[in-house]
């Protein structure tokens, strides 16, 4: 999956939670991604190179440490 797409999806999620409940935004974003993203997508988000990661909204960046790491390495792309 293209990094742009991953970034866009994560940022879109953040946009909702940032406005809905600013204090808990990071937790909400993390919970949403843990609940709905397949491990391959989470792995890709966690492995974004710093240059791309800079494009993530603050709530996503704050959520990264709260993401459940995928159990096994994603299959080779």
């Amino acid at each position: 999956m293209s990094p742009d797409r991953i970034i866009r999806m994560a940022n879109q999620i953040a946009t909702f939670f940032e406005t809905a409940s600013p204090a808990e935004a990071a937790e909400d974003v993390a919970r949403h991604i843990n609940d709905f993203w397949e491990p391959r997508m989470r792995a890709q988000l966690l492995a974004l190179p710093p240059a791309s990661a800079a494009a993530l909204r603050p709530a996503v960046r704050a959520a990264l440490p709260l993401l459940r790491p995928p159990a096994r390495p994603a299959p080779a792309a």
Partner: protein, 958 residues
């Protein structure tokens, strides 16, 4: 074979009266008790005494024109018509006296003197009420000389000026005026049941006759071919062409329409195993005896010559297809899937369940994926329509279910329709809604386009908020702003039923002046005064019911919009009783069921999250395999992963993702990258162009199962004829699972339902035995609610307290600009269904033979476009060509089209933007430009050429 009770199909003469105090009277010496307001005719019928009648039928209000139903009432002069005379306490009625017999014979004699006597060769022979009544009254002679009449083509003096030729302009029924008795049942059916007002009785007295519109043909008139008039006609005047062609049916199988989410119940009427006609069931709780043109008439696709009946395989998608046996096709598929998993991991394959297949079939496909493939890569086309409903309602109410039954609309006072076009998308619901609107309920329409309901005969919306596509959240939040700041909210309801901390937070949020309608007017295009008035009406007009469709969900803020709707309903206390509620109008027949049955990659059946250990344990112990606790890939993610190489095989049951999903190029690239694409469908659809295995599917007429409609109603689908392809779809999935090593065994779909009931709490009470007994049932169906649950959240929300959620408007990334200044939005029309695979293969194509682009005359003029011109519709993604239709239904700046025809390939232009929570694609907003053109674009031609090449089938080896 008859494993269920056929309900009483007798015509009771006049509609049932509910709720009146009991009245006891005597009819022919028998004592009868009926609710006050009941007609004598109906009371007699309930006592088992049928009074002769012609103009009365129990689907229509009594009219009293034929004078055949006369009775004598002790103490009253004359012979009143029993259909129009209500019962009274102590009344003594006689239905059969010498005087009545004489009068009735006289009436019948008059009718028959102007009726052709060709009963033996008449298509209604044996199914004609005129014939029956002639027999019932003992008519033995007709003393009038055949003089002036309507049925003879010629008279002694030359051509008969009163004779009219047969109208066979409609492909499904004919109108033969020579047989008409002018009872006006058809006219009343069109008005009262369907609400189209296409028919009138033109002329008076002897000259009166039924006329569609102003002396038009049926096809050329306003008629929408629902067939209500045909069903109501007591003679052969209006009759199905299929009955003319085949003869009268002699047995009935109860089943359910396989088209839209209304889920109409039908009596499939057969002769042998040949389907003669489909008649909507009077006792069907979703449709109450009505249907639309699709369900009643558009079933011919089942025997269409393009239907594929043999499995086929090929090594490469550029090869022609090779027909093989079922055994070979199944073994080949199983082997390919296992090879892919061995090489690329368990997660390298997945599947898509179908909203057109039964609950049982869908359950099996997700079981195949979770239990046999060993991952959660299962998704369904509901992804592209109502996934935001699931998410949004679950967050606010605790369950994704629509809150009402369809009957509820009869008690609504204010109806809000958001992003839905019921007269086209959910026609029978629309007919019931229009009836309520004619009865005085008021209507608010929130839609960029002026849908038919905004103004239709005897219905006029109180408000039409014609918002700019993509601004739903802004409009609904502004409505909440008005309700909160003007103090119109239902404080009692909120304090007792909702999470008050969340309410306080929400109230503070919406009260902010930036959400005021005046502040958002420039953005949404909705005049602030209109919006305020609409908000006040919804909050204060009595029972407020919201119905919404894909115009809500198919946006980047689809889930947010659903929450905004739920907020409005909680704010005004419009939840938890008949007449109110939040009602998603689901598109396909079994979208609800597909969602219920665990078709989403993060959810087990019954909406239990895949990380829920207890829920997983239920299946792990029953199936004897571990289930992955990780959510699987959604359809767009599968395609992305395919392009990246980690997802390589897919089993697609009954969906055409290439045509139905957005951004055709992205879908095609994903499919092309896979090693084994298995399509299980009726026809070689567009997706099959990229398939390596084709497994022929079966139609709803050929299998047993259940569908769950938009009101959570579980309806039985019953096998009407044997599967022409040899196997019902559930049997195919079963065989595939067995070939992949599973030890499944099911002899009948009822056993699958038993497994569903045993493992899914909300289905605990459901069984085929129960469905046969009750006809249908709305889940939750449990020990606490053994007959199901018509209205949800009565005493409390499923999640406990209702939760208000802030709904900030976030503009979509899809913006108009100088290159793409217009907004394209999409929809559907009555006669076609979804990608049109079935309806295009019926006579329904005569109503809609191509997709057209609706454009406002101003936008057309500045571009030099005339009505009917070919135009090029271009977005950032691609371009297609289609014909333009100039109309002010759409506002300037907005254009609209449908997506029923693969040749149009409307999804070449739609983007891959999607809902933030669920990835439901944003079909409803695409920035486009429109310019004159002279024919199909290159991408359309490419697609057509590729599809033609991909459909080649090798002649079978001798």
């Amino acid at each position: 074979m008859k494993d269920f009770v056929i309900p009483d199909r007798r015509d009771m003469g006049t509609p049932e009266v509910r709720g009146g105090p009991p009245v006891t009277l005597s009819i022919d010496g028998f004592s009868v008790t009926v609710p006050e307001g009941t007609s004598i005719l109906r009371a007699a019928a309930e006592a088992g005494i049928p009074i002769p009648k012609l103009c009365a039928t129990d689907s229509l209000a009594a009219f009293g024109s034929c004078r055949l139903c006369l009775v004598e009432v002790e103490g009253r002069a004359g012979t009143p018509a029993s259909c129009t005379t209500p019962v009274a306490p102590g009344m003594v009625v006689r239905t059969q006296t010498e005087r009545l017999k004489r009068l009735r014979r006289g009436v019948m004699e008059l009718y028959i003197s102007d009726h052709p006597l060709d009963c033996l060769t008449c298509a209604a022979n044996g199914d004609c009420e005129l014939q029956d009544m002639a027999g019932a009254v003992g008519l033995r002679e007709v003393r009038f000389e055949a003089g002036a009449n309507h049925f003879a083509r010629r008279t002694a003096e030359g051509p008969n000026p009163r004779w009219r030729p047969r109208d066979d302009s409609n492909p499904y029924f004919v109108y033969d005026p020579s047989k008409c008795i002018v009872c006006s049942r058809c006219v009343r059916a069109c008005e009262e049941v369907q609400g189209t007002f296409a028919l009138t009785i033109a002329g008076r007295g002897w000259d009166s006759r039924v006329s569609p519109g102003m002396d038009e043909t049926f096809f050329g008139s306003e008629c929408v071919s629902c067939g209500a008039c045909v069903q109501a006609c007591p003679t052969a005047t209006l009759i199905e062409t299929s009955v003319i062609a085949i003869g009268t049916p002699d047995r009935v199988v109860k089943t359910t329409c396989a088209y839209c989410g209304v889920g109409c119940s039908f009596d499939a009427e057969l002769r042998g195993d040949e389907l003669v006609r489909m008649v909507p069931s009077k006792e069907g709780k979703a449709n109450r005896g009505h249907s639309c043109v699709k369900g009643r008439f558009a079933w011919g696709y089942a025997t269409h010559r393009e239907r594929i009946l043999k499995p086929m395989i090929r090594a490469r998608i550029t090869d022609p297809w090779r027909e093989v046996s079922w055994d070979e096709a199944i073994a080949h598929t199983a082997r390919r899937f296992r090879e892919i998993q061995a090489a690329h991991g368990a997660g390298a394959i997945g599947g898509i369940t179908s909203s057109r297949c039964t609950n049982e079939e869908t359950y099996l496909v997700q079981k195949l994926i979770r239990g046999v493939f060993g991952n959660n890569n299962v998704d369904t086309c509901a992804r592209v329509c109502h996934s935001p409903t699931g998410y949004g309602l679950k967050q606010t109410f605790g369950t994704s279910a629509g809150t009402q039954d369809f009957d509820s609309v009869e008690q609504a006072d204010v109806v809000v329709i958001i992003g839905a076009n019921p007269t086209d998308g959910h026609p029978v619901f629309a007919a019931r809604l229009k009836k309520r609107l004619r009865g005085g309920a008021r209507l608010i329409v929130i839609d960029p386009r002026r849908i038919d309901l905004v103004r239709t005969p005897h219905v006029q919306a109180a408000h039409h908020l014609a918002l700019r596509p993509g601004t739903n959240v802004a409009v609904l939040t502004a409505m909440a702003h008005v309700i909160v700041t003007e103090g119109l909210f239902d404080e009692g309801f909120i304090r007792t039923r909702c999470d008050t901390a969340a309410f306080d937070d929400y109230a503070e949020f919406v009260a902010d002046p930036r959400h005021a309608p005046e502040a958002t007017e420039a953005l949404t295009g909705v005049p602030a005064a209109d919006l305020r008035a609409a908000a006040r009406l919804y909050a204060t007009g009595g029972n407020g019911a919201i119905y919404y469709g894909l115009g809500v969900t198919e946006h980047s803020q689809g889930s947010t919009t659903v929450m905004a709707i739920a907020n409005l309903a909680m704010l005004t206390g419009n939840i938890g009783r008949p007449g109110v509620g939040v009602n998603p109008l689901r598109g396909q027949n079994n979208v609800q069921g597909a969602c219920d049955m665990g078709s989403f990659p993060h959810e087990l059946p019954g909406y239990r999250h895949i990380s829920d250990d207890a829920a997983r344990a239920v299946y792990e112990s029953l199936w004897g395999v571990p289930i992955s606790p990780e959510p699987g890939l959604r359809i767009p993610n599968m395609l992305d992963a395919a392009a990246a190489g980690s997802f390589r095989g897919i089993y697609i049951q009954g969906e055409d993702i290439l045509q139905s999903d957005p951004d055709t190029a992205h879908v095609a690239a994903g499919l092309r990258a896979m090693d084994c694409v298995v399509v299980h469908d009726l026809f070689l659809n567009e997706t099959a162009s990229y398939a390596h295995v084709f497994l022929p599917g079966s139609t709803f007429l050929e299998k047993d199962g259940t569908f769950t409609n938009a009101e959570r109603r579980i309806n039985r689908v019953r096998r009407v004829m044997a599967p022409r392809n040899g196997l019902a779809d559930w049997e195919v999935t079963l065989r595939l699972a067995q070939a992949m090593g599973a030890d499944w065994s099911y002899a009948h779909p009822s056993e699958i339902m038993a497994e569903i009931a045993a493992t899914t709490p909300s289905f605990a009470g459901v069984s085929y035995e129960l469905l046969d007994r009750l006809g249908s049932v709305q889940w939750p169906c449990t020990a606490a609610a053994p007959a199901g649950t018509p209205v949800m959240h009565i005493d409390g929300f499923v999640r406990g307290k209702g939760r208000f959620i802030r709904t900030e408007y976030v503009p979509t990334d899809e913006r108009t600009g100088p290159r793409f200044p217009l907004l394209l939005t999409t929809g559907r029309i009555l006669t076609q269904y979804n990608v049109g695979a079935q309806t295009r293969r019926t006579e329904n194509r005569r109503w809609h033979d191509e997709d057209v682009l609706e454009i406002h005359p101003h936008d057309a003029e500045t571009r030099g476009i005339h009505d009917g011109d070919w135009v090029r519709l271009a977005s950032r993604k691609g371009a297609i060509s289609l014909r333009a239709r100039l109309t002010d239904r759409v506002a300037p700046g907005v254009v609209y089209t449908t997506f029923h025809h693969p040749g149009t390939a409307a999804n070449i232009v739609t983007t891959d933007y999607s809902d933030w929570a669920t990835n439901c694609p944003e079909y409803k907003v695409t920035a486009v430009q429109v310019s004159p053109s002279n024919g199909p674009t290159e991408s359309q031609r490419d697609l057509a050429g590729q599809a033609a090449a991909a459909r080649r089938i090798l002649p079978a080896a001798e």
